[in-house]
Every structure is written in structure tokens, then in C-alpha cells.
């Protein structure tokens, strides 16, 4: 497992990260909205993780973001999770620091209506342009 990565996360962030090791190759790390960008930048800039993609899902507690960082040399994936409040979820954009997140964050904005603050190009990406601006097909609001 990315023992190194998880140990570093524990040392750097202490109780602010909640780590769940699913298996020797997969781990899930829950963080608060406030620590979100610091942890993501740590994963990319310090640990050298590669952002493979991000999963956004509408859950009963809010809109959940799950960013998947792969550590290729170790063959592991560490996932960083946070939950945003509905009905207007918003969070800082990783794209400002890491261009790979560009399309990924645009997709989450498009389907779940998460506003990524500071995103250089916050347009829809996949859904049809003739849909209303607040049309987010994966939201499960009443």
C-alpha cells in the first residue's frame, strides 16, 4: 500500500484526515471542505500523485466529491473525499494548480451543479447546450 503516502498524510494533517484502508492497494481519505485544497495540492505537488479522475455523486448528506489519485510506481489508488452542502455546492477549483483537473471539474459542474471557484473555463462540457443553465442531470433534488 502507499504506506508512505498515508503516513505523510497523517503526519502533515493529523486528525484532520480520516483514513480508511480498503485493501493493500486502495485507501479512502475523508477531509473537511476547509482542508480540501490543501490536501489535494499535497497529493499532487508533494506526493506526486496523478489525478486519474474524480467522481461526483448526489448523496443524502450532500454532493460528494471523490478525487482519485493514482501512485503508479506503487500500483495504488488513494481517494480523497469531501461532502458539499446542497442546494448550492461550491468549492475551490484544483484546475488553478493542476491543468489535468480541467475537464474533470467541468464534468462535475455540468452533471451535479458544483461551482468550482477560480476555474479558468467554467463551461458545460458534455450535456447539450440547449438545456437550461441549471440543468444538472445527476442531481436527485425533489
Amino acid at each position: 500500500m502507499s504506506k508512505r503516502v498515508l503516513e505523510n498524510l497523517k503526519t502533515t494533517f493529523g486528525d484532520r484526515v480520516e483514513i480508511h484502508e480498503h485493501s493493500s492497494k486502495r485507501a479512502y481519505v475523508a477531509v473537511s471542505n476547509d482542508d480540501w485544497m490543501t490536501v489535494l495540492r499535497h497529493m499532487y505537488e508533494v506526493e506526486g500523485g496523478r489525478l486519474t479522475t474524480a467522481t461526483g455523486s448526489d448523496r443524502p448528506t450532500g454532493v460528494e466529491l471523490l478525487y482519485h489519485f493514482a501512485f503508479d510506481r506503487e500500483g495504488t489508488v488513494v481517494n480523497i473525499r469531501t461532502t458539499l452542502d446542497k442546494p448550492f455546492p461550491r468549492i475551490e477549483a484544483l484546475t488553478k494548480y493542476y491543468p489535468a483537473a480541467d475537464f474533470i471539474e467541468r464534468e462535475i459542474f455540468d452533471f451535479l451543479g458544483v461551482e468550482f471557484v477560480g476555474h479558468p473555463d467554467p463551461r458545460k462540457i458534455l450535456s447539450s447546450h440547449d438545456r437550461p443553465a441549471d440543468f444538472h442531470p445527476m442531481r436527485r433534488d425533489e
Partner: protein, 390 residues
């Protein structure tokens, strides 16, 4: 004063829907904008209404070329949730089909690249040499694409021993012809003139844009999920990851060409060392939890994330194809190049817009002469013929 040049919404060469807007000054490209979504089919939502078994068939239809890749990644994610281990024979059978897919996908790209630069001989050769690979796939799985081969716990069908000798022979012939093709391409001054030094993606950009597969390896980024994650039988056979330092169109072409030779080596070793035994372990249920499966598809890493709530359907199934992350690298790549190279540079990532179509043969009078059942029957007859005669 810059001019706007639209390409699309239908790619003139790749025959796929995309829309690129180039800002040019004279012949030089200043910037590019790419629009996606013209064939978005809402598969992530659809997957939430299907059972896990049905999901594998659904993701197979994300793309006709990568049908083995997506279904393998999805089954790996399901196995990750349940901590399911699969029999050795299944690991080898999965690897063989996946590498055959890589062969035909790369060869398809080589042909298309020839088509794009107007070199029809390469197109004809490439697609001619690709055909025996599809025949081998049909002999093993029963279909040229969409193999219905992977299932949680293993593979769906076993393969009789008599299928393997002709496939081995076909691989030897394929490697021989590919070596010939590699020699012809890499020594051709016209091809070198069109590809060398064109559309350079630096290693730093390749990492920053998160590029994957041959696109990244052509820029010297040494990543390959097959080696790094060591799923399937990849850590039990002898092969190497191909990288090239230059980052231009030629480097990516070389990576793909040499990877085909490596793939034939993997297939031959897997067939020779194929273990006997079960092809599937019993999977009674996918428990509550989250799982990730990622594999090295021909174009790069395919990534699937599945969340299960303990029922027979996933509550979330995230799918990410490699092209989604490779497309943004077009922007740094095309900047400063000429318009004539713009389509070639876009094609170098081997973009795939997930296309599958239905067909019906219609005579000139408008009367339908063959329906889906007739075509399936014809397909079955050809499979039988191949099994006897390959």
C-alpha cells in the same frame, strides 16, 4: 488579427463527432478550443438501473474498439468491492483477449494515421494486417468486437485447446508483418517529414495535463497500468514498457508500433503457459462498499469506480475513458503548428468518441433484405467457419 477556423462537428477523417475551433494567424495556430458531448449517452445514469451482470454488457458498449478494456475495468471494480479472487486460467484468458484488442486498436490507428497524412499504402497495409487479429478474436470469443468475455469472478466461456495453434501461428505472422511495416514506416522520408518534430508535447506538459497511455509514453512518461498495478497475467510474462523521449507525433507512432510487438509476445507466452482449471469463481453477491478497477486500454488508462449498497445494482458507476484526459493535451501540442498539421496532431492521441452503430441492409428499392436476426445468423455461420478453417 486572428482568424477562426472551425473543424467539425464531424471529423473529416476520423469520421467521429467533435468540434474544434482553431484561432490562426496566417498558417500558424495560436490556440484551440475543443467541444465534446455530441454523442453523450448518459451511461453512468443508465448503469444505476442495471444489475451488476448487465452493467458489464453496458460498459462493453461504451466503445466498440475498447470493449474488452471497459468490461475488464468494471469487473475489477466489482471484484475490488467484494475482495473476490479469480482462477489463474481466467486471468490468462482475460489477458489474451485484452492484448488482442490492443493489437487491433493500434493497427487501426496506424492505418488511420496513414489515411490522415494521405499515405494510402499504410492505410491499406495496416487494415489488412488487422483483419487476422479480428479473426483470432472471433475464433476465441465468438465476436469481432463486444466479446461478452468478462464477468465478475472470471470469464464467461472456456476455450477449447484446438483454437490456440492457429492463433499462435497468426501471432507469428502478425509480428513478422508488423516488423515489415515498422521498417517501411520508419525508413520512409515522406512519413518522417510529416511526423518528426511535429506537435511536440513536453514531458512536463504530459504530466501536468494528466495524459495517459501511448500519448504519455511518447513524451517519456514511464507509466503503464499493466506493469504498475500488475493485474491479469502481466507480472508472469516477459515484456517491457515502451517509452520514447521526443514527444512528437513520430514518438507516439513508434510507441504504438513497438507495443504491438510486445503485445504479440504477451499473447504467445500466455497461450503457451495457459493454466488448466476453472474459468470462473462463484460470485453470489456484490457486498456493500466501494471499488476501483483501472486497466491499461489501448489508448491509456480506463478507470471505473463502483459504489454498491448491497443490492444487485450499483448506486454509482463512474466510467472514465482515456481520451477524456488525452484531449486537453491537444492545446499545448497544436500551439505554434500549422493548420495542415492540426488534424494529424489531434489524431495522434487516437481519439475515440465511443461509437457503435446498428445496421440493416436495404436494397435500392427501399426493401429491407436482412434484419438483425439474419445478420446474427450470418455472424454465427462465419464463426463456425473460422473455427474450422483458421
Amino acid at each position: 488579427m486572428s482568424t477562426t477556423i472551425p473543424i467539425g462537428p464531424f471529423h473529416p477523417v476520423l469520421e467521429e463527432p467533435e468540434y474544434i475551433t482553431l484561432q490562426v494567424e496566417g498558417e500558424t495556430v495560436l490556440s484551440a478550443d475543443i467541444e465534446l458531448g455530441r454523442i453523450h449517452r448518459g451511461m453512468e445514469l443508465l448503469a444505476e438501473e442495471k444489475t451488476f451482470d448487465q452493467d458489464v454488457f453496458l460498459v462493453e458498449r461504451i466503445c466498440g474498439i475498447c470493449s474488452a478494456s471497459h468490461s475488464w475495468a468494471a469487473t475489477l471494480a466489482m471484484e475490488d468491492i467484494g475482495g473476490i479472487t479469480i482462477p489463474d486460467r481466467a486471468r490468462y484468458l482475460r489477458t489474451i483477449v485484452h492484448e488482442l484488442e490492443r493489437l487491433h486498436s493500434h493497427m487501426l490507428w496506424v492505418g488511420l494515421a496513414g489515411h490522415i497524412i494521405g499515405y494510402w499504402t499504410v492505410f491499406m497495409w495496416g487494415w489488412k494486417y488487422r483483419e487476422p487479429v479480428l479473426d483470432a478474436l472471433e475464433a476465441i470469443t465468438g465476436n469481432r468486437n463486444n466479446y461478452a468475455w468478462y464477468c465478475p469472478g472470471g470469464v464467461r466461456r472456456d476455450v477449447p485447446d484446438e483454437v490456440w495453434p492457429p492463433v499462435l501461428k497468426s501471432m507469428d505472422e502478425f509480428a513478422e508483418k508488423t516488423n515489415l511495416l515498422i521498417g517501411a514506416i520508419l525508413n520512409d522520408p515522406v512519413i518522417l517529414g510529416r511526423l518528426k518534430g511535429v506537435g511536440i508535447l513536453t514531458k512536463e506538459d504530459a504530466i501536468a495535463y494528466g495524459t495517459l497511455g501511448p500519448t504519455a509514453r511518447g513524451s517519456g512518461v514511464d507509466i503503464d497500468v499493466r506493469r504498475d498495478e500488475s493485474y491479469g497475467a502481466y507480472d508472469e510474462v516477459d515484456w517491457k514498457v515502451i517509452t520514447q523521449p521526443d514527444g512528437d507525433c513520430l514518438a507516439v507512432a513508434v510507441v504504438r508500433l513497438l507495443e504491438m510487438i510486445e503485445a504479440t509476445k504477451i499473447i504467445k507466452q500466455c497461450i503457451k503457459n495457459l493454466p488448466k482449471g476453472e474459468i470462473r469463481s462463484e460470485v453470489r453477491e456484490i457486498p456493500r462498499g466501494e471499488g476501483i478497477g483501472h486497466i491499461e486500454a489501448p489508448r491509456g488508462e480506463s478507470f471505473h469506480f463502483i459504489r454498491s449498497n448491497g443490492t444487485n445494482m450499483p448506486v454509482r458507476h463512474k466510467m472514465r475513458a482515456p481520451t477524456f484526459l488525452n484531449i486537453p493535451s491537444y492545446r499545448p501540442r497544436v500551439k505554434g503548428e500549422t493548420i495542415s498539421d492540426a488534424t494529424l496532431i489531434f489524431a495522434v492521441i487516437d481519439p475515440c468518441y465511443s461509437c457503435t452503430e446498428r445496421m440493416a441492409a436495404v436494397d435500392p428499392g427501399g426493401k429491407r433484405i436482412a434484419n438483425g436476426h439474419d445478420l446474427i445468423k450470418l455472424s454465427h455461420e462465419k464463426t463456425e467457419w473460422l473455427k474450422k478453417n483458421l
